[in-house]
Amino acid sequence: MIKKIIEIVEKIDTSQVFSELSDAQSGGICVFVGTVREFTQGEQVVSLEFETYEKMALKEMDKIATTAVTKWNLNKVIIRHAIGLKNVAEPVVIVGASSGHRDACFEACRFLIDTLKETVPIWKKERFENKSVWVSAHP
């Protein structure tokens, strides 16, 4: 049975993910956790604020997970993103996959996060000491 977990949450608990992806048919689990970095191009970030068009974001996340399951024959997959205000070093996104052999889950994991960044309607505002900026809004 393939299990997909697709969620938008207030806070990410990274300690859950092993049990969520653990699977008798899998020989490996690969997980990527995105976190808040303190410096962007030399400027100190105070916090990040995420917002989403939730209905559409969940649909897009589900499409990414479904594509990955088919392409890499995954047993379990997770895409979970946090919204709201996040402080330096906090987790903001977690993606992961379990599969029979490790190559599949490594490749799938990279695809999950790279595609999420391209297509999922979630927006991040970087708050600095004296200004705040919507990331990637302008060329």
């Binding site: 917002e51 209905k55 559409m56 996104v93 960044k117 391209e118 979630i122 927006w123 505002k125 990637s136």
Partner: protein, 80 residues
């Protein structure tokens, strides 16, 4: 017709939704909507990209718009 706004689109317009009253002329396609908002709010033309979602799916410029559709402006996304 109501158009949902997110991220920088909300800041550009100054509110979370763009409303067209029943008597106002509404855009009939995704392309027409993009042109209209670019003329009304030139800041939209300075963005890295601008997408429109119709009923929570990305929509190409030739997709037509109906008053009952859920329409959203999708400025450059930056999740992760």
């Amino acid at each position: 017709m109501e158009i949902l706004l997110f991220g920088i689109a909300k800041d550009i317009v100054g509110q979370a939704q763009l409303r067209f009253s029943a008597t106002e002329e509404t855009p009939t396609s995704v392309g027409a909507l993009k042109t209209m908002i670019g003329e009304k709010y030139p800041e939209f033309t300075k963005l890295s990209s601008l997408a429109i979602a119709v009923n929570s799916e990305y929509a190409e410029d030739d997709v037509s718009l109906n008053r009952n559709d859920e329409i959203a402006i999708i400025p450059p996304v930056s999740g992760g």
